[in-house]
Amino acid sequence: MTAIDVPVAVPTPHAKTSLLRRLVRRPVSLISLVFLVVVAVIAITGRWIAPFDPNLASLQLVLAPPSSEHLLGADSAGRDVLSRLLAATQVTLAAALVAVVTALVIGVVSGLIAGYYRGWFDAVASWVTSLVMALPGIVVLLAARAVLGPSVWLAMFIFGILLAPAYYRLVYAAVTGVRGELYVDAAKVSGLSDVRIIGRHILSVVRAPIIIQSAIITGIAIAIQSGLEFLGLGDMSVPTWGGMLNDGFANIYKQPLLMLWPSLAIGLTAIALTLLANGMRDVLERTAVVRRRRRRAVTTATGSIAAVTTSFSLSGGDASELDDSAPLPVVGDTIVHPDDARTSSLGSTPILTVSDLRVAYEQSEGEDIEVVHGVSLQIRKGEVHGLIGESGSGKTQTAFAVLGLLPRGGRVTAGSIDYEGTQLADASESAYAGIRGRRIGYIPQEPMSNLDPSFTIGYQLVEPLRKNLGLSKKEATEKSLALLDRVGIPNPKRTFEAYPFEVSGGMAQRVLIAGAVSTDPDLIIADEPTTALDVTVQAEVLDLLRDLQRERQMAMLLVTHNFGVVADLCDRVTVMQQGLFVEQGPVRTILGAPSHAYTQSLLDAILDEGPARGPLISAGTAEGGRS
């Protein structure tokens, strides 16, 4: 009957007024709203502004065409169509209102009780919901009419009961979401009564969604009521849109215009209600997005540097060998340090060269938002390059840009990404063919969400092997099992056949590493590969990554916010801040003698007296979301 997902808004005291204001700025919503207001005014005044008595029949006027006196003509009983249409508006809308109010009262009250107190009421209510959903509404209404007779009001009351689950589910979901919130707990502790908590904190959350749902339900109620009247099952003594439609349809060959007016009234009202509901939903959703963004922007700006924590302590020494007096070259906004003894042994053949890369996101309204503001970096063959910075600095966006896998709306707006001579900046899918998955592998941050829960782990390993390396199913299976064994999974066969939700997070991350290296890539892009893991597992996974990197001589771009990981694995490192690279150089130089104030403040935030072992750090302050 009705299953519209309505977003639940963050509670705001002024949601209602500002919602209306923003709504009227959208032309479609404004037109719908004006139309509905006109219909409502007609519903209230219709009886008085009607030029004739809507029930006055005249034999001379039977099926009369429109004339100056009877603007819309007359129906099969010779009654003035315009007058009937105006009067019918009142009956039709009032009947719909009965259904909506009934549904609203039952649905909201039971939803609040079930969501707030849970317990048996919850179970009973959800069972009754499935009972109500087990029959088409119109069949229930017809059965009721067989017993109760043709009353519009009674029928709409019963229909209201049938529609109550739509509100119930909405309120229930909102209440169960809110009741665990701290401010509700705080209200409880400060001794507010349940009624006041529900009224103040919970109803404010569901108010806007309820208005949206009501618009949709009003449309449904008008449709079903008109349908009943159209079938001739309504109360013929009062004029309704459906009843007029019935008369028009019966005389479709003699006077087709008769059908037009009531169907226009029904159709346009239904469309206006739906468009208005959609408009409100869009406005609400946008508010939620803007608010989320704003919140994130605030955390980034005032972002605690402590988010970049590590217990790495520097052994020192090498840094003093550098010549501090020589001016450091600055490329763009980036301070670039020269190679030290260790990094110069890497050779100078670049595998990936990123220059002046810019990444921006399209906005539905207004200008694009740029998140990476022109960054350059070079990764040499076999080099492990760390990309470090706090949450929201654009590390992950840079990594996704290289992979050509930016989220919807994001794209490379300028600069170049050169992978051994192939240009990948803003490149087509075909440019990436043979590179992504074949030459560049990717290890994601969150192990669980990066495996498809609907397919077995084995399937997800075998599928790319067959596609990229052209292996047979048997060969691909053998290779996958060997890889699972190589990444330290105790029972490869069992994991191969398991679904992702049947293995632990550490195992899942090993599976993802196996997947990334399965096609023998030359470059691995690892996006915070250990952040989501338990502390003890982190160390093991880092060891595995280091071993695999050495064994296969792969280059690696390691995105992290953890200096411990950088010190442990990287040859060179780039420090990123607010979409820019601020400092770049050999890991010992950056950690031992940072030049940029931001790098220094990041390092100062490290707890000096921590244990020397890098990876065993608390990830409690781990980055929450992607930049």
Binding site: V147, G227, I252, T274, L451, S454
Partner: protein, 313 residues
């Protein structure tokens, strides 16, 4: 998996029992007046009492229900009070008409909704805008209004189809096809709109999932990821909406059959309702409930096939 099916079937039987009990109670509660309504206001008390006894309405409600239930379990749903025909016989004759409409509409709307939804989600831009706009309008306009205008345009003005009448499939396939095309179109439009919206939403959602990016990072093309992984994961929510739509289509068929004068369940329901033919109304309600429960069971099985979490738990 077997336990899952058994549990669903048992839950369905319980639900059916409750529906039959509640419906029977409501329909027969007013026993005293039922006989009077059949005979008219002028009938004598004696005649009314005699009629009530003849129909068994003078017995306690619980006894009447037990009687109905025990014969219903053997497939006997009683006889019409007006033409004396067996309810089960009139139902079975009309079931095929209604089901051919509803199943046809379900299949067509599922296919078109998936195509439109995936198109809108993947292409974005103006394709998305157009599909969304059509969906909103198709969802908003009541089905019977669409039916009326299809009759007006394609039957009355263009003469492409006959406005009314039903030709059984056994008699002539092409005739059957011609007689159900407009009704199925009228039924499908609303369902296509609703399901396409859902498919679009779930595909957009599934495409933004981390595992889609990871699979693509392994060199799988965006197309193959969409058809294998995205659709499979988007299928669950879409099926749930399709189940709700199916119930809506059954209800819609009641009205559409009336518009096209098709001899289906809807017509039987409407005529029984206006006559107050309670045994037929009761039979119709039970038939609808059984159909809904069977469809819900099938949808649950499809969900289990798509989603290993359902299957394994």
């Amino acid at each position: 998996m077997l336990m899952f099916i058994v549990r669903r079937i048992l839950a369905g039987i319980v639900l059916l029992a409750v529906i039959s009990m509640v419906t029977f109670g409501l329909l027969f509660l007013d026993s005293a007046n039922i006989a009077r309504r059949i005979l008219g206001q002028n009938a004598t008390e004696e005649l009314v009492a005699q009629k009530a006894a003849e129909l068994g309405l003078d017995r306690p409600l619980a006894v009447q229900y037990w009687d109905w239930l025990t014969s219903a379990l053997t497939g006997d749903l009683g006889r019409s009070w007006f033409n004396g025909q067996l309810v089960s016989v009139s139902l079975s004759g009309r079931l095929s008409v209604s089901l051919s409409l509803v199943i046809g509409a379900t299949l067509i709307s599922a296919v078109l909704a998936i195509v439109l939804g995936v198109l809108a989600a993947r292409r974005g831009g103006w394709v998305d805008t157009v599909v969304q706009f059509i969906s909103v309008i198709g969802f908003a306009i009541p089905g019977f209004l669409i039916a009326l205008y299809l009759v007006l345009i394609f039957a009355i003005n263009l003469h492409w189809f006959k406005a009314t009448g039903y030709i059984p499939i056994a008699q002539s396939f092409s005739g059957w096809l011609a007689s159900v095309t407009l009704p199925i179109a009228a039924l499908s439009i609303g369902a296509i709109a609703a399901v396409a919206q859902q498919v679009r939403g779930s595909v957009v959602d599934a495409m933004s999932r981390d595992y889609v990016r990871t699979l693509r990072s392994r060199g799988l093309s965006s197309g193959s990821v969409v058809y294998k992984h995205v659709l499979r994961n988007a299928g669950g929510p879409a099926l749930a909406v399709l189940a709700v739509q199916f119930i809506g289509l059954l209800g819609g068929a009641v009205i559409v059959e009336q518009v096209f004068a098709l001899p289906g369940m809807g017509q039987l329901t409407v005529s029984a309702t206006t006559q107050g033919d309670i045994p037929v109304v009761m039979g119709v309600v039970i038939a609808f409930a059984v159909i809904v429960l069977i469809v819900n069971l099938l949808i649950d099985l499809a969900q289990a096939a798509l989603n290993p979490k359902v299957r394994l738990s």
